[in-house]
């Protein structure tokens, strides 16, 4: 039987893994060897998309053609998009489902729904897996944040389908992490999984016993992650640099610099970063202290969500036997300190926190393939489910943290005489009033008219092992039944889905060399741009002879880009890099000198 792959479809990066000889293994990019695929897509002028590293790099130059964190928009409505995101992207909500409007670079635009964009990423991972395994891959286990609601989960399944993958199971990311650590083999253990990814924070409390893993409680924040820490660093950089007019290009450069600074500060107490702004390259020094002061509240938020999850699980921090760190942002020392402080024990971090979820997804894929038979995951619903009853009250049928599959059935009656139908409004949330909960679906069921209070309508909820809800309602007296599979309000309609599938398959098999070429061209474009900028800004550091050499290399590269030989383009990129290396070194030296001079001037003044 064909293998099932495990996929971590992350906000910032995505990975694919598979079981090989009883062990989970990441399948890296066959060409670069990188285990991570940046979850980035960028629209090219010819209407096709670049995906992954080249898209992420292209985003710096073409922010309005690119999407970096599409997972934020999966299964949400326009009202859930925050100001920061609105500044970065244009959204359209015309047809019901949220769409992102991308500029194609030749004056036109193209709308893309979040599942479509995610499907591009999934298709890339599928290709990766197929090239590594030498066989077709059609089935996958995909991980989602434990906090994802029904619409977001459905959107993820839609993305899988668009990518030509049968999504056998959605697994909560923290649960996958525990599987990767093999903690399910423990006799009995209480595990907290602290997952601070690029864009989401999740904490799960798992009870492991005799090869069974049970989620006792989950908590978190869909809008808290490493990106938020980056934004704090960006703000620090902006203060250091002065000025307030930041072009989109500058902001992208700042974001890159912030990421580098943050990474560096995980290992050292002072980071020095180069910020190649449009107005000139600047060198900025940041201390870990300043970074930690600027992000205290973010760390605090993660800890308070941990406390809530512990409370929901009915456990104390000291009861926890193992703490697992997941997500690149857990490399931040302040985060580790806070986690250790809360639980009173050092967290596990032996497995690369970026890879651990994908590895766990592969383990679950192995379970579903029948490969390993002594493990079983017991999962819970993340949010309560119910219906609206008289007075706009939310009546729960299934409580948060109920183990799935789950079913519940209740009888309801009418409030008004001679009603000819009742409306079943399906909701999800923890609030008392229907209007404060998320609407998942509405449907009407005709009933035999009668005096108020006499009709009996039996409503049944059934959640399958994937957390997908179906609802049915039955007029008990006539035995007429209406059932629906809950179509989330922000999801795609069946028709939209069909159209997208057709389009997807039309575009699907652009050949590999073509993609290599596109990626090489993007890289060339970005180095040519950088070279031109450096020449303009640092004219005084360049003599005629050297300029001639660089210009020659640049023009060779430009010429090669009009051709179709990606290897030649790669070679000439390298040549241009080589030709410009002494020049780049001088720019660097000069910037450092300026930085040192301005510092001593400041110290003298002080």
């Amino acid at each position: 039987m064909a293998r099932i792959v495990g996929i971590d479809l992350g906000t910032t990066n995505s990975l694919v893994a598979v079981m090989r000889d009883g062990r989970p293994e990441i399948l890296p990019d066959p060409h670069t060897g990188s285990p991570l695929l940046p979850s980035a897509a960028s629209l090219l002028p010819d209407g096709t998309f670049l995906v992954g590293e080249s898209a992420r790099r292209r985003a710096a130059l073409h922010p309005h053609a690119s999407i970096l964190s599409v997972k934020r928009f999966m299964g949400v409505g326009l009202e859930h998009v925050d100001d920061q995101d609105r500044r970065e992207h244009v959204f359209d909500h015309g047809t019901g489902a949220l769409q992102i409007v991308l500029e194609d670079g030749s004056g036109g635009t193209r709308k893309a729904s979040p599942p479509e964009v995610s499907a591009l990423i999934l298709r890339e991972l599928k290709r990766r897996a197929e090239s590594a395994l030498g066989e077709e891959v059609t089935r996958a286990v995909i991980t989602v944040p434990a906090y994802f609601n029904d619409s977001q989960r459905q959107a993820t399944r839609d993305a899988g389908r668009l990518a030509g993958l049968d999504v056998l199971r959605l697994v909560n990311e923290p649960t996958a992490a525990a599987l990767a650590y093999g903690l399910d083999k423990q006799e009995e253990a209480l595990v907290a999984v602290f997952d601070l990814g690029g864009g989401t924070f999740d904490v799960s409390i798992l009870q492991l016993r005799e090869g069974l893993s049970e989620v006792l409680a989950t908590g978190g924040d869909t809008r808290l992650g490493g990106d938020d820490f980056d934004r704090r660093v960006i703000a620090l950089l902006q203060t250091e640099l002065g000025g307030d007019a930041w072009s989109a290009e500058d902001l992208a450069i700042l974001r890159d610099a912030a990421e580098r600074a943050k990474r560096e500060l995980s290992g050292t107490h002072v980071a020095t970063v180069e910020v190649p702004l449009g107005s000139g390259t600047r060198i900025v020094r940041l201390t870990r202290e300043a970074f930690e002061a600027a992000s205290t509240d973010l760390v605090e938020r993660t800890i308070s969500r941990c406390r809530q999850a512990l409370k929901d699980a009915g456990k104390h921090a000291r009861d926890v036997d193992h703490v697992i760190l997941v997500g690149g942002a857990t490399r931040t020392p302040a985060v580790r300190r806070a986690v250790e402080g809360l639980f009173g024990k050092a967290p596990h971090a032996d497995i690369d926190p970026d890879a651990v979820v994908a590895l766990g997804a592969a383990v679950q894929a192995g379970i579903l393939s029948g490969g390993s038979s002594d493990m079983l995951l017991l999962d819970v619903v993340p949010l309560s489910l119910g219906i609206e009853t008289m007075g706009g009250v939310f009546t729960r049928l299934i409580d948060r943290n109920t183990t799935i599959p789950a079913a519940a059935r209740e009888q309801f009656t009418t409030a008004v005489d001679d009603q000819t139908h009742v409306e079943v409004h399906v909701l999800q949330g923890e609030r008392e009033l229907a209007r404060d909960c998320r609407s998942l679906a509405r449907f009407r069921i005709p009933i035999e008219p009668a005096t108020a209070g006499l009709p009996r309508v039996e409503v049944t909820f059934l959640i399958d092992a994937n957390g997908i809800l179906s609802v049915s309602a039955r007029d008990v007296r006539t035995n007429r039944e209406h059932s629906i599979e809950v179509k989330p309000s922000y999801g795609l309609t069946e028709e939209q889905m069909e159209n997208m599938l057709e389009e997807a398959f039309d575009l699907a098999e652009e050949d590999f060399a073509q993609r290599q070429l596109l990626e090489a061209r993007v890289e060339a474009e970005s180095i040519l741009h950088a070279t031109q900028k450096a020449e303009r800004l640092h004219e005084q550091l360049l003599d005629m002879a050297e300029r001639a050499i660089i210009e020659r290399a640049a023009s060779d590269l430009r010429e090669a880009c009009t051709g179709v030989d990606h290897n030649r383009i790669r070679d000439l990129i390298e040549a241009l890099n080589e030709a410009g290396r002494p020049f780049a070194q001088r720019i660097m030296d000069a910037s450092i000198k300026v930085a040192l001079e301005s510092k001593s001037a400041y110290e003298l003044a002080g």
Binding site: R169, E210, L212, I367, G370, T460
Partner: protein, 198 residues
Amino acid sequence: MQALPQDTDYFAVLGLPPHPGLDGVDLDRRYYELSRKLHPDRYQTRPIEEQRASVQATALLNAAHRTLRDVEARGRYWLVRSGDSLARENQSVPPRLAAYVFDVQEKLADVRASVNGSASALRSELVETQRELTERLDRQRAMLADMLRGWPAENLAAGASPTPDERRPAALRELKNVLSELSYLRTLDRDLQNALEA
């Protein structure tokens, strides 16, 4: 979608003798054993009918486990199983709690009516009241657990004619009292919590 089997007994689902005390029963172990057999993950490669049946069976198993593992849920279930139930809109004060409830509600009314000056003293009094109430809830749950453990056994011997135990109707009445008191105390606790958060 198929309807769930009607009136399936939770004790039967878990293969346990129908006694609300669950004395000496490792409920979790039983539940895990059955989960291993029934869970949909085990049926991924089986025909669709088997997959559906597995979802239904596991949903029922999960409901049974969730109900029986919690003493209050188990008590309520036992009441329903014995043909009685707590009225859903039961808002009248349980007689044995009347004096206590009156006392707490008076404190709540004071806080609601208070102006800023006296609010903080009243607040700390309210915190103390809530702590007391938490203890009372714990005692009430312990009482319920004891009651369920000592529940008069049904005559289950094969062939024996069911001899209604004289004590059972009285025990059932008392179970209902204890449960409705518990429910009322929790409502009170929520009111206190709301007042403290306001």
